[in-house]
């Protein structure tokens, strides 16, 4: 489709104020190629089909809208979990708060460091999965990220990694505008749990490229931080090899603008991809899950489980697709997106899609939007449970299916307690 001149002009105007970061030869090349992709596609505009339910303006604007730093007075997420901590303050790696960047079966480097080198293994990955993920649907903000990311973490797992690697994003400046790009390479048979938490910045553009080789397992649990005014556009691009596993869960509470895109390609037989999310929003909250899973191998399984609880005019969006390529027989694809609207002012837009070019597959999808079940609510109240607690119990029950996608009991309990905490605070407010 031809890109309108108006859109290209707007894109050029935006890019003209930006300069590519300094770097070594391989990274500069990757950045220039990405910049060319942005120029070809143009940055997202309000009338783009893929941005029909989420206005891209504040994610594209030259400057980030300021966001107050929120002192939530809550123990940090994952705080009690034994993990390797890597801290970014407004998008800048902070060695003082971080642990030593090493571990068994693990190498961890900073993009800012390896970018200065002339050559690095990450050359084959940086921007590669992002570039591949631009088709069949364009994701210009991800290409923008590849071009302008200044820092990020580059992880290579060569075997089972015992302690989770935990990325902690701290938001300090009200006007911070952060672009981070992470690379994760899971070698054959490797296993890693990656945690992410924190609001990161007033505006956060993050790309994570994850290459999961044959037989490897990647587990990801993320909590996006409770700052009310923060904005985020995040992309996960994953490639799954034979018999590999990819599991990702995201908790989002608060935030005026969040769009999380997840683009996975199952390229080896018998691979498994489970992606899930729970979002709770109150008032001026906009949350968009955009998922695209491509089956390009035999006997793979994918699951998408997304749940949103919306109140006081909050908005939720789900765009999820399963694409089954010719020959991807015995695909087992499942997708569910559900919203619980706690009042008449909140809205949920869902666009579930299946596109199947193989004839021996089992794919199903569903989407529901509804209020709390009155029958269940009365049953609880008739047993003496006050209405507000009963509502919270029903809300947690609604979210439980998504939380159940987290494999580790320790992590799923941590997430459940955060959900409960959010509900209790709202109840007492």
């Amino acid at each position: 489709m031809a890109v309108s001149q108006r859109k290209l002009d707007a894109t050029e105007a935006r890019l003209s104020a930006m300069a590519l970061p300094e770097g070594g030869a391989w990274l500069t090349e990757a950045r220039e190629t990405a910049l060319a992709r942005v120029r070809d596609m143009g940055l997202p505009a309000r009338r783009d089909e893929y941005w029909k339910y989420t206005r891209p303006d504040t994610l594209v604007d030259a400057a980030a809208t300021t966001a107050a730093v929120f002192d939530h007075g809550e123990a940090p997420v994952f705080g009690d979990i034994d993990r390797l901590k890597i801290v970014f303050v407004d998008g800048v790696f902070d060695p003082a708060q971080s642990d030593a960047l090493d571990g068994e079966n693990l190498t961890i480097e900073r993009l800012a460091d390896i970018g200065a080198a002339d050559i690095h293994w990450a050359k084959d990955l940086y921007g590669a999965l992002e570039a591949k993920g631009q088709s069949p649907v364009e994701r210009p903000l991800a290409a923008l990220n590849t071009a302008f990311a200044t820092d990020g973490i580059v992880i290579r797992a060569t075997g089972k990694v015992a302690r989770p690697v935990s990325l902690i994003y701290q938001h300090v400046s009200e006007s911070s505008d952060v672009v981070l790009h992470h690379i994760i390479k899971m070698e054959e048979g490797a296993d890693l749990t990656l945690l992410e938490n924190g609001p990161a910045a007033a505006r956060f553009n993050k790309v994570m490229e994850i290459d999961v080789a044959d037989g490897a397992g990647f587990h990801h649990v993320r909590a996006q931080g409770r700052d009310h005014e923060r904005r985020a556009i995040t992309h996960m691009f994953g490639r799954l090899g034979k018999e590999s596993t990819f599991k990702s869960f995201t908790l989002t509470v608060n935030g005026v603008m969040t769009r999380n895109e997840c683009v996975l390609e199952l390229t080896g037989d018998d691979a498994i991809a489970h992606v899930a999310g729970a979002a709770l929003g109150d008032g001026d909250f906009h949350h968009d899950d955009t998922v695209f899973i491509t089956h390009d191998a035999v006997n793979c399984e994918s699951r998408q489980v997304y749940k949103k609880v919306l109140r006081n005019g909050a908005t939720g969006v789900f765009q999820g697709k399963i694409l089954v390529q010719p020959g991807a027989q015995k695909t087992d694809g499942y997708q569910i997106s559900q919203a619980l609207l706690l009042d008449d002012d909140s809205q949920f837009y869902a666009k579930p899609e299946l596109e199947i070019y193989a004839d021996d597959v089992a794919c199903s999808h569903g989407s529901t939007t509804g209020a709390i079940d009155e029958e269940g609510l009365f049953y609880l109240r008739a047993r003496g449970v006050p209405k507000d607690i009963a509502t919270d119990l029903m809300t947690l029950a609604f979210l439980a299916e998504a939380v159940a996608e987290i494999e580790s009991d320790e992590l799923s309990e941590e997430i459940s307690s955060r959900l409960e905490g959010w509900l209790i605070r709202r109840r007492q407010a």
Partner: protein, 251 residues
């Protein structure tokens, strides 16, 4: 214990009068049964007393130990000691049966200004009570009523009743959907709870349940009113002759 005077109730949405002047007094420690043809208002009475939305009381009053029930929310009525065993217990996916029970027990205790039950104490009590009702550990762990058979659901109602120890228990067609063995089990559960300080109102279509849960008083309800009251023999009369004779008699 329970006192209902001249209770008139209509459906909020349809402007349809269902109860047309119910008078009923259930004394402490007594078991009263209400029988009556379909559509006579039996279930409506149980819902109105327990505080379900959708009904409007246009006249009359209802009180529990002198406390006006109609002014209270459903949860306040429960905390005051009212319990309704549902004809169709509701399935609540995602809420574990144990979590549900403990939340309910402690919410009621809190509302009454009593100390909450500890997790350990609760577990001990619930296990003992579940055992007598033949409710196994798996049923306790599962989400509330999800995947339960008809009999399991009714046993689960009685378990809730046993845990909450209400003063006034209303059983709404607890016998429906039960086979003979399940009915016996449920009745034994109810009989074990009979106590000088606890009253029961048993709503049923059939005399059969009353063989197991022996009532002190039997009322016949028709067309939104209690039209005849008597001893247990009244239930037998209905069983043999149907409602036609009684209804003709009062017409």
């Amino acid at each position: 214990m329970l006192e209902i005077k001249n209770l008139h109730v209509k459906l909020e949405e349809e402007d349809k009068q269902i109860l047309k002047g119910v008078d009923l007094t259930v004394e402490a420690g007594k078991v009263h049964a209400i029988m009556g043809p379909n559509g006579s208002g039996k279930s409506t009475l149980s819902y109105v007393l327990s505080g379900r939305d959708g009904y409007e009381v246009t006249e009359g009053e209802a009180s529990l130990e002198g406390e006006d029930l109609l002014d209270l929310d459903a949860e306040e009525r429960a905390a005051a000691g009212l319990f309704l065993a549902f004809q169709y217990p509701v399935e609540i996916p995602g809420v574990g049966n144990m979590t549900f029970l403990r939340t309910a027990v402690n919410a009621q205790r809190k509302a009454r200004g009593e100390e909450e039950m500890s997790a350990t104490e609760f577990l001990k009590v619930v296990r003992a009570k579940a055992k007598t009702l033949k409710i196994d550990a798996d049923m306790l762990k599962r989400p509330v009523n999800v995947g339960f058979s008809g009999g399991e659901k009714k046993r689960n109602e009685i378990l809730q009743m046993a845990m909450l120890e209400p003063k006034m228990c209303i059983l709404d067609e607890t016998d429906s959907g039960l086979d003979v063995d399940a009915m016996k089990l449920v009745s034994e559960g109810v009989n074990a709870l009979r106590d000088a300080g606890r009253s029961f109102l048993v709503i049923t279509h059939y005399q059969r349940l009353l063989d197991h849960i022996k009532p002190d008083v039997v009322h016949i309800m028709a067309n939104g009113r209690i039209v005849k009251s008597g001893g247990p023999e009244l239930a037998l009369e209905v069983e043999h002759n149907g409602y036609a004779d009684i209804l003709a008699e009062i017409a």
